[in-house]
């Protein structure tokens, strides 16, 4: 690597500098936000009872770490989210395939899917409790309800935009519609399926927390509601940050970004 030209070295240097500025700025924004928040709360510009403060939150979080309650709630929410996510993926792939197979079916169901997708799902949650009881099932279904219709629609759309020439090729090679599905439609939709999964994991988490608001004895959603009822702003904030952090971790796991998926196979 010593035989790089001066220009290439300069380019690499510029690139590294750019990256460094971006990451330092990101951290600085967070630190200055925390500092301003802590400072204003301490000198009494904002009411720390209503707005809490970073140090109080840290103490509260530490307390939860100590009595291990945070792990229980985190685990429950994570479990429910993953179950509803897996169900959403499996069901939406199956339904999208069925719709792709029968253009008649997709034409018939199209308005229903659009309506169901635009339904305010959080309004459904109280109904779900009545229908299914205050159980884990309700929470998982609530998580699914947020993601599933959009997921079906976007998968079906990605199936229908597959190059018709490639499907014709399958027929000219003596294949049928099943071959078109397994050899062309599914492989060429893998990037779409992955990006769909990325969106869905976040949506499922939102749905699960909405469900937990209303029908749970544990989980992050339950903690948020509980804290807000006992006026522990720091608690709510911890839970909200934790949950958004989970969705970050789940959906931005560096190796599952669609552009990183090898086109092979």
């Amino acid at each position: 690597m010593n035989n790089l030209s001066a220009e290439q070295k300069k380019y690499l240097l510029m690139h590294r500098r750019h990256k460094r500025i971006v990451s330092i700025s990101r951290i600085l924004i967070l630190l200055s936000f925390l500092f301003v928040w802590e400072f204003t709360a301490n000198v009494g510009i904002i009411d720390s009872f209503i707005f809490s403060s970073p140090s109080k939150i840290a103490l509260c979080f530490f307390g939860m770490l100590m009595d291990k309650s945070i792990f229980l709630h985190l685990g429950v929410t994570l479990f429910e989210t993953i179950i509803s996510f897996l169900l959403v993926i499996a069901i939406s792939i199956l339904v999208a395939v069925a719709l792709w197979f029968s253009s008649k079916l997709s034409e018939i169901l199209d308005p229903y899917l659009v309506v169901l997708n635009s339904l305010p799902k959080s309004a459904l949650a109280p109904l779900l409790i009545v229908w299914l009881g205050a159980t884990k099932t309700t929470i998982i279904v609530a998580g699914m309800s947020v993601a599933i219709f959009g997921s079906i629609l976007s998968l079906y759309t990605s199936f229908t935009v597959v190059d018709p020439g490639k499907i014709k090729l399958i027929y000219t090679l003596g294949g049928n519609r099943f071959h078109a599905l397994s050899k062309v439609v599914l492989p060429s939709s893998i990037p779409a399926i992955i990006s769909n999964m990325k969106v869905n994991i976040g949506l499922c988490l939102v749905g699960v927390i909405i469900g937990e608001f209303l029908a749970a004895r544990d989980g992050l959603g339950y903690l948020i509601i509980y804290s807000s009822q006992v006026f522990r702003r720091d608690g709510i904030l911890i839970q909200s940050t934790t949950s958004s952090y989970i969705s970050q971790m789940l959906s931005l796991h560096p190796d599952v970004r669609p552009e990183k998926i090898p086109q092979a196979r």
Partner: protein, 255 residues
């Protein structure tokens, strides 16, 4: 002579809500074993429709199609169809693209795999077997597409303007290349094109279609007095110009 393909009084029309568009009326012709026939005609006259009918993707409204003496539906003959674009799958390697047809027809055996390797070797793609299509030039991609068709050992090849997506220079060499491959494999072929010089350089016979709805205007046999009868040599032969003018005139006369 043995006939590979026979078309009798074929009619076909496209239907939309706005009405009916007749595409082909009363098309009849036959293709002998080992013969290479070009079909030319004004664009949009239904040339590609004709190939779709022969390959069984569409069904004629009237008339019958026989392949190797059997009706199309009962025929077990493999018909190879080469499309305008190579349609190689980017998520498969060249080798896996080539065996796609074998995979679909459940013909993957040690022997057919061997043949796929042999053909890739013969036509200069051996070292690209595990490359992905985007790493190949347009000409090599088209050759891979031809091998994908040939590996199914078709008795009849249908070529739907297979060179039209290539730039002019590549087109000449690939046309020459693929023309010679088809001759060498002893295949019967039906080429649809709007490029007259391509039709003349490759075929034994040119069928001229009229504008829509297409009927057969004339059939012109091509005879070249050449030692090495390759597509490129034909382009330099004195007969080439004569045939070109003949077909050009025929295409542009409206009766």
């Amino acid at each position: 002579m043995e006939q590979v393909l026979e078309l009798k009084h074929i009619h076909y029309a496209y239907h939309t809500l706005d009405g009916e568009t007749p595409a082909l009326t009363d098309i009849s012709f036959a293709l002998n074993k080992g013969e290479f026939v070009s079909i030319v005609g004004p664009s949009g006259c239904g040339k590609s429709t004709l190939l779709s009918l022969i390959s069984g993707l569409l069904e004629p409204e009237k008339g019958l199609i026989k392949i190797n003496g059997k009706y199309l539906k009962e025929s077990t003959t493999n018909v190879g169809y080469m499309l305008q674009h190579d349609e190689l799958f980017e998520w498969r390697t060249i080798y896996n693209n080539v065996i796609l047809g074998l995979e679909i027809q459940h013909m993957l055996t040690a022997r057919t795999r061997e043949r796929a390797h042999d053909l890739l070797d013969l036509y200069g793609l051996r070292q690209f077997e595990s490359s992905h299509p985007s790493e190949l030039s347009g000409g090599m991609r088209q050759r891979a597409a031809l091998i994908r068709t040939l590996v199914l050992e078709p008795d009849l090849l249908l070529l739907d303007e297979p060179f039209s997506a290539l730039d002019y220079q590549t087109r000449l060499t690939v046309g020459d290349d693929i023309g010679q491959i088809i001759r060498k494999e002893g295949k019967s072929a039906l080429l649809v094109t709007h490029d007259l010089s391509e039709a003349i350089s490759l075929a034994d016979r040119v069928i001229i279609l009229s504008g829509r709805p297409a009927t057969i205007k004339q059939t012109i046999p091509l005879i070249f007095d050449l030692d090495a009868d390759t597509p490129l040599n034909r382009r330099n032969a004195p007969e080439f110009k004569t045939y070109f003018n003949l077909i050009w005139k025929e295409l542009n006369t409206d009766e």
